[in-house]
Structure formats: structure tokens, C-alpha cells
Amino acid sequence: MNIQFRDRPEPSASVSVKSAIADCDIHPARATRDELYPFMAKRWHSHLETYGVQAYHGMMEGPPYPKAQPNASRRDAWPPEGGPQGSSLSFMQKQLLDPYNVALGVLNPLATGQGLRNQDLAGAICSAINDWQIEKWTSKDKRLKASIVVANEDGISAAAEIRKRAGDPNFVQVLLLSRNVEPLGQRRYWPVYEAAQEIGLPVGVHAFGFGGNPLTPSGWPSFYIEEMVGHSQCQQTALASLVLEGVFERYPKLKMVMIEAGFGWAPSLAWRLDKTFEKLHSEVPHLKRKPSQYIRDHIWWTTQPMEDPERRDHLFQTIEWIGWDKLLFATDYPHWDFDEPSRVLPAGVSEANREAFYLGNAKKLYGIS
């Protein structure tokens, strides 16, 4: 982590991972502000020029908690031809896909229509982003696969966008963010789960987003580090909501991926849910199984930022509690907390688990042969 301070040569074949890997969290960016315009009706061009985008926080530009460096990105990730980090396919190929032998790269666009207050605008931007992912990325490099982004607060429009992409091999998942207007198990989001189950794609829940709620149950914290560490608390609450509302009873084939919020918290959350459920199950009779069983069967986890205990046996025990079949390797390229594939997993892992961690689990989940 924090590779900006590490003086290191550009990756080459000699330092690369020999076996192919999947990178399940790559963030593509637009090179210019109007790069999306060709994919949007004219009406929205002038809307964006006049009013910009209004999110569930006060800033017209940039995030409420300033990042630790520009665009939260690696300092070596500026493309030589200009534009922000993550906006150049050729540079992404050179810096990430080729040297690390990425066989499958899952795109998770972040600056989309998700989290905007105007739902028509949100839907227009999301649909444009989906077209743009095909045009700029997946049609140009077959290793890359896209995520369907949707107007998350408008279930009907979101479900329509998901169904519109049914059967399109460019897309491998539906993408939501963890922080929304309500916890993710609430019924306003069920049309998304219904449509995703119907077209057979998993739903990824990426950390971040703003839904108008203070970032802690005691109000707004002061620092970026609190927001970053806090993603795991937001994600735990979102997952608890999904389980307790009965989403996995209602959509038994639904698969979900917890992205960029860690996984070390999963065992203690599952134990706490089970222990409390023993006493309070009469309040949630729609649950037919223990909370931990839904989590075990329906949830996958991306690895970055990788849990990093002092002792590797602690890491291995934690992964055993979760399941070696449930982790999906991710780098978070081009962001500053990039996990380098060759450094993430300590020695002492069986070849089968290693292969599952880096590639096998992702291929299976995302249906890539």
C-alpha cells in the first residue's frame, strides 16, 4: 500500500506474476469532461453545463473529504498523453494488464450517475457510462469486462437498464455503491436484485458513494482516514441489511460481491449476526436460515486493500473462516492503495488456493471460460 512513497522500477516481465490473474477492481476514467456526450441526449449536455451534478453532499466539484493525492491515484499513473489517471487504455495495458498478466479485468466506473439527486440525470449518465465502457474499453481489449451502472435510487429505471444489457457479453456484473439513501436491503433496491438475478449477473457493491446520511451513527467525522477505514463499517451495515431484510430468501440465485471494503470483518459480523439472531429471530421470521449461511452462500469479496496482519497465520485463519473459494483478487488500479499481485499473498498457500484466489474464483463467478 501507499506505493507512491516506494521508489520502484516500472514493472516488467521479470517482476511480473507468472500465472495469469484476474483483477476484479479496475477504475476507468474519462479523459475529458465531455467524453460522455456522444452517448447522451443533447438535453443533458446543456443541463450539465448549466447546473453540473448535485449529489447528496454539498460539493459541486471533488469529494467532501479531500483525498491524500490527486484523484486518490498513484503518482506514476498519469498517462503520458495527458488526461487523468485511468483514462488511457494503452497506458493501462502497459502499466497493469500486460506486466501483471491480467487475463480478466473487471471495470468498476466510479464517477457515474450513482448518488445523484436528479434521477433522470442519474439514469442518463449511467446509461452513457455503460455504452462508453463498451466503446472505449471492452471492445478494444478483450481482457476487460464492464459493470452495468444504474440510477441506484430509482429501482424501476435501474431494472430497465439492467434488462437492456441482458445477454451482452461485455458486462459481467451490476454495480452499486455501499452508501445510498437507505441501507441496501431496503425494498426500494429490490428491482435491481430481481433484474440481476433474472439476467444471471452478480451484483457488486463497491465502497463509497454518498446517500445523505452522516458517515458514522454519531455524525460526520473529520478526516479522510476516517472515511477510508469507515468503508468497512458501512459495508458491514449494508450486508447486515441485505441479510436481515431477506433479500437472499427472495432472490435465492442472487450473488453479490463486496468490493474494496476489506474482508477481515466478515467472520465477526457473521458471528454477531448469528448470536443476535438466536435471541431475536421472532422479529425476522422471513429468515429461514442462520445469517452466516446466507453470507457463506451468496457473498464474494475482493481482496484490495488486503488485510495485513503482522502474522501470516492470522491472515490464513481469517481466510479459512471466510472460505478460499470466496476471495477475488483486485488491485484497485489506478488508485494509491494499489495492491501489487506479487506482494499480496504470503508464502505458505497451497497451489489450488493460490490459483482460486488469483484467478479461478473470479472466472467461475463472472462466467469466463
Binding site: 452508501r179 454519531s218 477510508m228 470483518w265 467472520p267 431475536l280 503482522e310
Partner: protein, 359 residues
């Protein structure tokens, strides 16, 4: 099971206020009049609905009234049964929920006086926590100073979900007063409901709120550490009460990693988060959110890398365990002694001292 040993300290007992009217004798004329004239209702928090299964163990539930409201029951069911030398009373009466700082202050003062007279005076094993009106730091400090003269009060009590993150500088005079007066600061599960009870909004269920308490403790610990509370107050002990603790190792791995990455944002944090937790933060034992097999639990203790973090608690009358199984199975005799006796005595400096100085 692991047998408790005699002479321990139960760090989380909940005496219940029978009704708001029970506090009337401890209010002045103005507030007595306000409560009666305005027809104010009892302050029962959603965090602990009276009839919810977790609010009372079935065999500790009285035939009538609120669980925890009767001293004789508490003596028989907790203090005598686990042969403790001290029991620390943490009243959870919903005084934090009101929105007027004046009303909150009046109710807190009444609650603290009620605790001294109706509990501490009646059993010399009992010790108290000072409940404070956190909406006003000035009034909180005044109440701490007033009640701290009675050495049987060993702790300041705050809720884990309040108006602002607990590390915010506005609260620091509270911590300065506690450190100066030799009081620990206890943070207990529960919400003032001045903010949604989760960081992503309002859920649907009581079970959801209860599960979310653990995540609230995590965000508070981050706030306390990164705002620099323990750089300023290195001798302050804070106790997470009814927080759960099995989340701690993985939480600290994550916090430590981000601290290493972006510590330039909070340069006053002069020690690694793990070291700060080891020296300044303690956790009550119950609830033990882990499977009931000793192997998993002992692995978790190994992940915590310290045997000084846990303080014995029954969480009486809440339902966290059955029978006499206040200690999870598989603990070594050495760890039992630390959890029940050594760790609490080191955390609460006033406990031994108070024995002689009780008025």
C-alpha cells in the same frame, strides 16, 4: 465451561429506573413541574425495548416491572452468584435522547443522585458511572466535577451513538476532567437517536440496530485515535462496554494499514493505533460474538495479541449467556484471573481507593 473465580469485578451492570417519575424526588421544583404538567412519558430507548429477548435473560426477568429494577434481584442473580467484590452500575435510562441540553442536564443530575441513593448506598460492592449531558460540554464537566467528589463513582458514561464522533475536539474538556479526577470514560452501546443508527441510514429492525452497535464502536475508536485524544491524554482509560470484541483484530489491521499510508493527515497521532489500544482502551467481556468452540475463541485471543484488554462483565440483566457461563469455555486460569480481577483493577483506579474513602 470456564468457572468464574471469587473476588472479581463485574464491569457492566444495568440498574433500571422504574419510571421517569422515580426521578422526581431528585429534581428541583421547575423540572418536577415540567415533567408532570407536560405529561412527559417514560424515557425507554429503542436500543433496549423492555420486552425484547436481549433486554433480559428469561430467568432474570421479573414478574412485574423492568428487568434490573430490583436490587435484591441483582444481588441474588449477579453479585452473589458470581461472588464479585465490585459491580459497576451503568444506567441506560434514555436521558440522552431528549433534545434540550437543559432538560438533559436536569435528568442526568437526577439519575446520578438516584443511583447514589437507591443503589450505591444500599450495597457497598456497587460502584457508579456518571451519566453526562453530552449536548453541553460545559454542563457535562460540571456534573463530572460535582459527582466525582463521591469516590464510589469510578467512571464517566457516554453512549456510542451520540451527536458527534467522540474524538471531536469539542469533547476534550470531558476527557481532561476524567483524566484529572482519575475516572475512566466508559462508552456504552446505545444511541441518542440524534443521528440514524447506522452510517448508511435507518434500517428496519431492532436486530439490525443491535448488530450495528459493533460498527458504531469501530467508527468511534477510529475517531478517538486519529483526532489525537490519547496523545493529549496519555493516562486516560476508555472502556468499550457491550461492544463485542471479536471484531477488534481485523479492525486494527485495517486501521493500521491506512494509518501507515496517510498518517500525514493526522501527524499528532504519535503511536501506532495498535499500541494506543493496548495502553488506553479496554473492552467488557460480554457479548462474546464468536462460535462456542474453544479453538476458535483461543485463535481470536491470539489475534488480539494481548491478555490485558478484556474486563469481566455479565451485562446484567441483558441476555448474553445462560446459566453460570459468564466466561466463555476454554479460558486458561491465568486469563480468567486477568479478566476478572487484574485488568479491571488496573483500569478503574478508584476501585480499591474507594473502599476506605466511601462517605
Amino acid at each position: 465451561m470456564t468457572s468464574p473465580i471469587a473476588g472479581g469485578v463485574d464491569c457492566d451492570l444495568h440498574p433500571a429506573v422504574p419510571h421517569l417519575t422515580s426521578l422526581l424526588p431528585y429534581m428541583n421544583d421547575y423540572w418536577r413541574d415540567q415533567v408532570t404538567t407536560r405529561g412527559m412519558t417514560d424515557l425507554v430507548s429503542q436500543s433496549y425495548p423492555t420486552h425484547s429477548p436481549i433486554s433480559s435473560r428469561p430467568d432474570w426477568r421479573p414478574a412485574q416491572g423492568k428487568p434490573g429494577a430490583d436490587l435484591a434481584d441483582m444481588q441474588k442473580q449477579a453479585l452473589d452468584r458470581f461472588a464479585v467484590r465490585f459491580g459497576i452500575c451503568n444506567p441506560l435510562y434514555g436521558v440522552q435522547m431528549v433534545f434540550s441540553e437543559d432538560m438533559q442536564d436536569a435528568f442526568c443530575r437526577a439519575l446520578n443522585n438516584w443511583l447514589a441513593k437507591e443503589w450505591l448506598d444500599k450495597d457497598d460492592r456497587l460502584r457508579g458511572s456518571i451519566v453526562i449531558p453530552t449536548q453541553s460540554v460545559e454542563k457535562s464537566v460540571a456534573e463530572i466535577e460535582r459527582r466525582a467528589e463521591d469516590k464510589r463513582f469510578v467512571q464517566v458514561l457516554m453512549l456510542v451513538m451520540g451527536d458527534m464522533p467522540l474524538g471531536k475536539r469539542a469533547y476534550w474538556p470531558i476527557y481532561a476532567a476524567a483524566e484529572r479526577l482519575g475516572l475512566a470514560v466508559g462508552i456504552h452501546a446505545g444511541s441518542a437517536y440524534h443521528n440514524p443508527p447506522t452510517s448508511i441510514g435507518w434500517g428496519s429492525y431492532h436486530i439490525e440496530d443491535y448488530v450495528a452497535q459493533a460498527t458504531a464502536f469501530q467508527t468511534q475508536l477510529t475517531s478517538l485515535i486519529v483526532e489525537g485524544v490519547f496523545a493529549r491524554h496519555p493516562n486516560l482509560k476508555m472502556v468499550m462496554l457491550e461492544s463485542g470484541f471479536t471484531w477488534l483484530p481485523a479492525y486494527l489491521w485495517r486501521l493500521h494499514k491506512f494509518w501507515r499510508g496517510i498518517r500525514m493527515e493526522t501527524p499528532w497521532v504519535d503511536r501506532a493505533p495498535l499500541e494506543i489500544v493496548r495502553s488506553n482502551i479496554r473492552f467488557s467481556l460480554q457479548p462474546v460474538d464468536a462460535p462456542p468452540d474453544p479453538a476458535t475463541l483461543n485463535r481470536l485471543f491470539d489475534h488480539m495479541q494481548s491478555d490485558e484488554l478484556l474486563l469481566f462483565s455479565t451485562d446484567y440483566p441483558h441476555w448474553q449467556f445462560d446459566g453460570d457461563e459468564a466466561l466463555p469455555p476454554g479460558l486458561s486460569p491465568d486469563l480468567v484471573r486477568k479478566i476478572m480481577i487484574d485488568n479491571p483493577l488496573k483500569t478503574y483506579g478508584r476501585l480499591e481507593f474507594a473502599k476506605e474513602a466511601t462517605p
